[in-house]
Each structure stands twice: as C-alpha cells, then as structure tokens.
C-alpha cells in the first residue's frame, strides 16, 4: 500500500468525495456562514483536494515536513491563519480536515471491497495522514492566535509607557506601575529607539510612579543607562523615593556613576543646563501682571 495508491483512489472518486466533504462541512453546523460563503468553502475545498492529491503522488510517507507537502502546508497554513484572524474557533477550523475523514474512508472501503487486509492498510495510512493534517492546522491556528495576542500585549505595553520629548534633545520616560523584567526590557528598547529618532542626548527615566524596584529591574535600569551611553546619550534617573533608595542600598545596587535626581523637575533643570539652555524669568511675576 502506498500513498500514490491513495492518491489514485481519491482521484477516481473525486466528484463524489468532494461533494460529500463539502456537505459534511455544511451539515456539521459548525461552518460560520456569517464569516465565509458556501462558494468560498467549495472553492477552498477543491483547491486543497487537488494540492493533497498531487502531494500524495510525490511523497512516500505522511510526514508533512517533507518537501512534496509544501503546497499543502502553505495552503493549510494560510487557511488556518486567516480563519484565526476571522474569529473561527479551533474546532470550527479543525473541521475543515476532520470532516474529510468519512468521505475518504468511504472511498477507501469502496476501492478495497473484499480485500480486508488492503483496506486496513489503506485506512491506517489515511488516518495517519489526516491526523497529521489536523494537527498541523491546529498548530498554525494557535500560532496565529498567539501572534495576535502578543501584538496586542506589546501595543498595550507601548501605550502604557509613552516616551515624551520634553525639549529639543531631551526625552523623558515616566514609568508608572509595577515593572517586571519583560515590561522593563520592552520599555527600555523603546526608549533607546526614541533617543535615536529624536537625536536626543539626554533621557530622563522617572520612576516616581514605580512602587518597588527589585534587583532585576534595577539591573535593567543600569543596563539601559549603559546602552544609552554607548549610543552617545546620557540618562538621568529621577523620582527615586526614599523607600526605593533604601531597598537599593540594601540590595547593594550601585548607582555609582548614574546621575540621579529627586524629582523630574530637578532632572529637567540639570538636563537643560547640560544641553546649554538657560532658563530665566523675564521679570518678577512677569506675565501675570501684564494688562
């Protein structure tokens, strides 16, 4: 029993097989009529059927990573990715392959009428193949799902950490909320990118809104300062509350050659001074009293 034999069987029974397959998909009650039309479903089914038949003619095993299955993989991959994006559930997506079982088994039984051994071998082969296809569909589906979720997460992280330009050449990153290691590295990468984009030589990292700083987060902060320096920018860390200062000393975190300031305002003053800006008040109380 070989795969090419299976391919012949599928081909001989093509019309009936396809019709049964499409109708099983429709009857299952799991086809999302709201998301995909029957014509589309028929077209997709026909296309996949052809690709599979061709692949079976070329390959001698049901291992999908073999080159002969490239067309099949690409098609199924695209199908599950697009269904994942369209909002199909995993079982609605898996149905595409699973509903093929009955028609294929039917065709095999007809082809091997009276030959029990041949039938068993062919059924086993068809099962293995369809299972592999089903698993592949699920994996791609989950992968696409995961990507969507990851994208949303990093969008959220970016939203929650806006890097703002305070002045020509000065950017600030006001950090608010708990910093875990993952968030900190995303935030820091964003900061370094903004430094390049805005050509800013000074970055203020304000941690007033950060409740606690553990060793890992502190290490991340220090690494960011070091990376910024390698790029040609200086960082000022501001808003280190007394409690955090104590923890840092306790954890023996050395902020030795990092510029630190109690408040963002002080940090800005230092930054302006270093960039050569002079801030002066026009006259005492100036603007308020002007008529």
């Amino acid at each position: 029993m070989s795969l090419s034999k299976l391919s012949e069987i599928l081909n001989a029974d093509r019309t009936r097989l396809l019709a049964e397959w499409v109708s099983y998909q429709n009857e299952s009650g799991q086809v999302r009529g709201d998301l995909i039309t029957e014509r589309e479903l028929t077209r997709e089914s026909e296309q996949f059927f052809e690709l599979l038949r061709e692949a079976l003619g070329r390959e001698s095993s049901a291992e999908l990573h073999r080159p002969g299955y490239k067309g099949v993989r690409d098609f199924l991959g695209e199908l599950s990715r697009s269904r994942s994006r369209l909002g199909f559930t995993p079982s609605e997506t898996a149905l595409f392959i699973l509903s093929m079982k009955r028609p294929v088994f039917g065709a095999v039984q007809r082809a091997f009428a009276g030959d029990a051994a041949g039938q068993a071998a062919a059924l086993w082969m068809a099962t293995e193949l369809l299972d592999n296809l089903g698993l592949f569909t699920m994996e791609t589906f989950m992968e696409a799902r995961e990507e969507v979720i990851k994208g949303q997460q990093s969008d959220m992280l970016e939203l929650s950490t806006p890097v703002v330009q305070l002045w020509d050449g000065i950017v600030a990153l006001p950090l608010i909320g708990t910093l875990d290691s993952n968030r900190t590295s995303i935030v820091m990468e964003t900061l370094l990118q903004v430094i390049v984009q805005t050509r800013s030589e000074i970055a203020i990292i304000d941690i007033t809104g950060v409740p606690t700083v553990d060793t890992q987060v502190a290490q991340h902060l220090l690494k960011t300062v070091a990376a910024a320096r390698l790029m040609g920018a200086d960082c000022i860390i501001s808003g280190i509350r007394p409690q955090i200062a104590q923890t840092m000393v306790h954890l023996q975190i050395d902020l030795g050659n990092v510029i630190t300031k109690a408040t963002m305002a002080e940090a800005l003053r230092t930054a302006m001074h270093r960039s050569g800006f002079v801030v002066t008040r026009k006259s005492a109380g100036g603007l308020l009293h002007q008529k």
Partner: protein, 135 residues
C-alpha cells in the same frame, strides 16, 4: 520536545569563516523571525564562539539548526572542535579569564546572550558548545 526544521553545516578553518558564521546565523534568525535584539544577541554570541573555535580549538565545524517546539521557534548553533579542550570550565567561563591576549569575555558573554548554553570539553578531547535562542 522540539523538532528540527532545518540543518546547515559550516567549516571554520580560517578567519573569513567567522564572517560566514555570523551571516548564516543572521539569516536563520531572520527566518524564524527572532526580534532584532534577539538576532543581534545570537549573532554576537556565535561570533565569539566561532573565533574561540578557530583560535583555541584550531578550527572545526559549526552546525546550525532551526527548531520548532509547538508554537515556539528556536535557533541552535553548535561549535565543535577537536582541539586541546578546556581544563577548567568554571575558570574559562569566568569574565576576565583569558589564556590568550583577549578580554576573557567571549564564553561568559555568549552564555548571557542566549537562552540555553551547553558546554562539553575535556583536555585532549576537544570542545563542543551549543547555544540556543528561542523566539
């Protein structure tokens, strides 16, 4: 459990080959869609280990593999030489230790830049180092 998607082999017997290793690692890292920072990390680690392989190991082989573990993808690079081997692994991995004129950052640094680091070496038996970075 992970499955191997693809395997490539490179011979490292002269200095230009270090560049070839960097380029192959970059290409495969892009293929499995590692982020730019992760790409840079594994290319840098590979550059260090390829140079060690050439200088201390007297040349050898680099094997690159892209891996798939369910929905995760990874890149594993192995450096295999039949040189003198490393007597004291702990010492060699320590930052600042060098038997040559280096800074002694290669091994320790490479380890920090990847998710998995395996080393197998003994005097007279050569050295085999594997690094993996997951997406």
């Amino acid at each position: 459990m992970s499955t191997i998607l693809k395997t490539e082999k490179l011979d490292v017997s002269e200095e230009q080959h270090i560049v070839a290793v960097r380029q192959a690692v970059r290409r495969l890292a892009l293929e499995i869609k590692l982020s730019l920072v992760d790409q840079t990390k594994i290319v840098t680690a590979a550059s260090e280990l390829a140079r060690n392989l050439l200088i201390y190991g007297g040349g050898g082989e680099v094997i690159l593999r892209t891996l798939s573990a369910g929905i995760r993808h990874g890149l594993k690079v192995e450096f295999i030489d039949e040189g003198p081997g490393i007597e004291d692994l702990e010492l060699a991995l320590r930052d600042g230790f060098t038997s040559g004129g280096g800074m002694g950052l290669g091994l320790g640094g490479a380890k920090r830049l990847v998710n998995e680091f395996e080393i197998d070496s003994a005097p007279g038996r050569g050295t085999r180092i594997g690094i993996t970075r997951w997406k």
